[in-house]
Symmetry: C2
Subunit: 165 residues, 2 copies
């Protein structure tokens, strides 16, 4: 269970382990096919920022997410995605910030689009820096902020975790 502090969270992430994951980054248009990115074994990070989130939280977020022992190694030992080493797929997911109002979801606490896009870009860059420093064999892929995240996921158990910051 996530800590209940008096302050609401600045960011919410959902983590799933994958054998392979594929995400659309550009939808199909009249003259062009849709474009996708794909990772093999690793972790999918769904991310949503709330109002009031600032750059200050990013280093701790990235360090926590990439160093948490959430991945099962071939020997069955739990290791971090950096230790595996595994790939990362980062999926912007504003719906994670939803709050029930009657039968509908509202997203009033979500960060504004421009600021969210900026934080998302900075988060992706930090992840790339950390993961690339740990291993040359793995890669960071990510979705296009604001787009529909057409996702295909293959797992040996998603091992879903919620992490708030």
């Amino acid at each position: 269970m996530t800590e209940r502090s008096s302050a609401p969270p600045a960011a919410r992430t959902m983590l799933q382990q994958c054998l392979q994951a594929r995400l659309q980054v550009t939808p199909a248009e009249e003259q062009s096919h849709a474009q996708f990115v794909q990772i093999d074994r690793g972790m999918v990070i769904y991310i949503c920022f709330f109002k009031g989130a600032t750059d200050d939280i990013l280093p701790k977020m990235v360090s926590t997410l990439l160093n948490l022992r959430l991945c099962e190694s071939d020997s069955g030992k739990m290791v971090s995605v950096l230790e595996l080493p595994g790939n990362l797929l980062i999926v912007p997911q504003a719906t994670l910030g939803g709050k029930v109002k009657g039968r509908a979801m509202q997203y009033h606490n979500n960060i504004g689009k421009e600021e969210g896009l900026r934080l998302y870009g900075a988060f992706v860059s930090l992840c790339e820096k950390e993961l690339t420093a740990a291993s040359a064999e793995v890669t960071v892929k990510h979705g296009t902020y604001g787009n529909r995240q057409v996702l295909k996921l293959d797992t040996n158990g998603p091992y879903t975790h919620l992490m708030e910051f």
Copy 2:
């Protein structure tokens, strides 16, 4: 954002929309292949109960989850899974109850295995009753409590939501 009340939640659910989802319900053994269940278009409910959860919360949980407008109809309108009508895949996911301790996850707030299994079964039954009453064309499938949830997911956008009860 989920309401911050003074009481900790009794259950945590994660919802994802799918075009198709396949889940292992029996692992392969020496003499037998693995067995799977599969749904087409609909919603995946990952569910975890915390200590103190009782049957009292189940009717409201099921009613909320099945009536929330989380599904995009063919016309682009948001409707509930009952209205779509869509299929349901229920995935027991104890990891959702995890809490960070150093670099590892702890699950001390999760409900005991026996009580969790009972609540999970009752939750599945209630979902089956509600969904079947709404339409004969859709189905409820679910994972085996306590097993590894080998999952394959195909989406047109998972539209991930967190709901606590």
